[in-house]
């Protein structure tokens, strides 16, 4: 272990430990625990049964109390390990019921005779078991698959429209000289200042007037014309030499062909970054879907999850599992595409 840290923290040419080295070590290890710990704890908890979740102190691993079916009893009975005080012999008994501090127990092999045991003298038979029911049940019993489908639809469609409309606008703003171009640029800059949270009321009335209330299109359309996307793509397209376009015009290519066959493929890296951001944005959207969607059938995952978690008698075992499922796409994006995102942010400060 210490060698692993040494490997991770070794400094080039450095000998001896300065206090800043100690602090670096402290900050990194502390950060590791604090940043990843909560999410890992959530994933871990999501495999526990409701009984295990209610335990305090919580156990690290998801334990399940073993149960067995005993002849003469309808329900499966929990198993306990009981040590006989006189003989010191250890037996496994099933508890029928508990009265005060005494448990009435039977031997599963010999169910006739009832043994009374002080609850202090028994320990539950437990084994590590991952409760996958937390995951399978929401898929069959709740609207969860519906929420998932809605979220996927919103994310995919909104990202495709964003890429198309933003790249077309960026193409016009970077490769044409027309009157009013600077006015359009100014308008786009100006609305960078207007986050959605400032125009909630009028936007809601526009959506309602168009009949898009309680429709997934009402969630998609207001978010697709992102000024940041137009900006980013325009900056990138400015680096494509105009001579390339002129050469294509000589060969009788139409403007649409120039956009589709030449400029768009050359903008692929920037489009990829915008696509990643758009997917994460739309998947994570909360406030606007919360306002537009009021019927369960059209909820996205985020709205469905928040609403479900806000209800009385919170069923944590389901919520934890659904939260993990909601997290999965973003974690995948993070693991595989992190490099694009970090360079994208460091380069443009966009989020």
């Amino acid at each position: 272990m210490s060698r692993a840290f040494e490997f991770l923290l070794r400094r080039r040419g450095g000998t001896g430990l300065h206090w800043t080295d100690v602090f670096t070590y402290f900050w990194l290890v502390g950060g590791f625990v604090l940043m990843l710990g909560p999410a890992l704890w959530l994933v871990n908890s999501s495999f526990k049964t409701p009984a295990a979740l209610a335990e305090f102190p919580p156990s690290i691993l998801p334990y399940v109390t073993a149960e067995t079916v005993v002849q003469g009893y309808d329900k499966p009975l929990p198993l306990y390990r009981v040590t006989d005080k006189e003989t010191g012999e250890e037996r496994v008994l099933a508890e029928v019921r508990r009265i005060g501090i005494m448990g009435q127990m039977v031997d599963p092999k010999n169910p006739g005779e009832i043994v009374k045991v002080n609850i202090q003298d028994r320990t539950p038979v437990r084994s590590v078991s991952f409760d996958t029911e937390n995951y399978t049940k929401p898929f069959t019993a709740f609207d969860f698959p519906l929420y998932l489908r809605n979220s996927v639809f919103v994310t995919v469609v909104a990202t495709l429209i964003t890429l198309l409309t933003n790249s077309m606008a960026a193409f016009a703003l970077s490769k044409y000289n027309f009157t009013g171009r600077s006015a359009v640029m100014f308008l786009i800059v100006a609305t960078l200042m207007v986050p959605l949270s400032v125009i909630l009321v009028p936007l809601y009335s526009v959506i309602s007037a168009m009949g898009l209330f309680n429709s997934l299109w009402g969630v998609i359309l207001p978010t697709v014309a992102t000024p940041t996307g137009v900006f980013m793509l325009r900056q990138y397209m400015l680096t494509i030499p105009d001579e390339l376009l002129d050469a294509a015009r000589m060969d009788k290519a139409s403007e649409w062909q120039i956009y589709w066959r030449i400029v768009l493929p050359l903008t692929a890296p920037a489009l990829a970054v915008l696509a990643i951001f758009s997917v994460v944005w739309r998947w994570n959207d909360f406030l606007w879907p919360l306002i537009v969607l009021s019927r369960k059938e059209v909820y996205t995952l985020q709205v469905g999850l928040a609403t479900y978690a806000g209800e009385l008698n919170v069923q944590w075992h389901f919520i934890l599992a659904m939260t993990v499922v909601t997290m999965i796409p973003v974690v995948l994006v993070f693991v595989f595409l992190q490099r694009f995102i970090t360079t994208g942010i460091a380069g443009s400060g966009l989020k």
Binding site: A169, S197, L200, V201
Partner: protein, 339 residues
């Protein structure tokens, strides 16, 4: 690596087939259009979809927001609403003592304003402090720097709902944090039920969720500082603290200013993760401006769209000032770079 990229390109090509057919079909009418209008007419065509969506869903609402703020009643559409002039603003500002929300007609609004102000000050200070330390640590000669950077960046991508639920689970009465505190010999705290702790939790959780983003911007700034400055300082035997105050901090100042303004802008609008974490409670102790607008405009029984619009315009004004500040700073940095 080569295998995955060729697979990706194969999938990409397969997905592109219907699109390329579509593109070819679109090309036919577009050529006719181009013959009619010339190159610049095509610019209008390329701009149209984006600007149309933009106009309908951003510009138009922005303009009628002012009209909304001057009308009263509960009706949704502007045509059904009655003009009341500045009444909504008067109502928001009707206060005998601005520091005491209870003395105001709209006590919720002033509670939200007060909460948001305290939140912004504390959260921005904590955010910048933690982001700066993280960036400095990550800028050292580390093995596996990209791994450590990823560790701090990880929560940035999580959705606010997920962030809120993760922490609700940890901060609940029988949660992990209380267990650890109990093990250390202290009394468990009911984090999300006690007013001040809930407020502190809102600050801590929002810093946790976003600090990686700002650390990344600051790290990029640190890495842009020329190495020879540090080498020269080392030659002169300058003490590390002095190097920090005289080289690192002044050269990082432009990035720090950008981060300051960005955190301010986002902090003023804080909503989702806190809404999921505490729901604005206990009582109104974590009620912030965006939630107030949401509650008044949409969620409460006595909906008042005009009042919500007026409050949102006030918040928007603050944001415009902050954004102008940011754009001004960005421009100043640009001209400085060119010199």
């Amino acid at each position: 690596m080569a295998g995955t990229s060729s697979l990706a390109s194969a999938v990409g090509t397969a997905l592109a087939v219907p699109f390329s057919w579509l593109a070819r079909i679109i090309d036919v009418p577009l050529r006719a259009w181009q013959r009619l209008t010339g190159y610049n007419g095509m610019a209008v065509f390329f701009l149209a979809p984006n600007m149309l969506i933009f106009g309908i869903f951003v510009l138009f609402p922005l303009v009628i927001n002012f009209a909304y703020s001057m009308t009263g009643g509960g009706a949704l559409f502007l045509s059904d609403r009655t003009y009341v002039g500045a009444e909504q603003y008067q109502r928001l500002f009707d206060c005998s003592n601005y520091l005491d929300p209870r003395s105001c007609t709209e006590d919720m609004f002033w509670t939200a304003v007060r909460n948001t102000t305290i939140f912004v000050v504390l959260q921005v200070a904590l955010m910048i402090g933690v982001a700066l330390i993280t960036a400095l640590v990550l800028n050292r000669d580390l093995r596996a720097r990209s791994f450590w950077r990823a560790v701090f960046f990880f929560p940035v991508l999580l959705s606010p709902v997920v962030v809120g639920l993760i922490w609700r689970w940890i901060l609940q009465r029988q949660g992990l944090l209380n267990y650890m505190i109990f093990e250390l010999g202290f009394d468990p705290v009911n984090w999300l039920v006690e007013r001040n702790w809930a407020f502190a939790a809102a600050i801590g959780v929002s810093v946790w969720a976003h600090v990686g983003f700002y650390a990344l911007i600051l790290l990029a700034g640190l890495q842009a500082i020329p190495k020879d400055l540090y080498e020269a300082a080392e030659m002169d035997g300058t003490r590390p603290a002095r190097v920090f105050w005289r080289i690192t901090l002044p050269l990082l100042a432009p990035n720090l200013l950008v981060v300051l303004v960005l955190t301010l802008i986002r902090s003023v609008q804080i909503f989702d993760e806190v809404y999921v974490l505490t729901g604005g409670g206990p009582g109104t102790s974590t009620l912030f401006l965006t939630q107030y607008i949401y509650e008044i405009g949409f969620a409460s029984l006595l909906r008042n769209p005009g009042l919500a619009a007026a409050a949102s315009i006030l918040m928007g004004t603050v944001l415009v000032v902050l954004t102008l500040l940011q754009l001004g700073l960005a421009r100043r940095n640009e001209t400085k770079d060119k010199r």
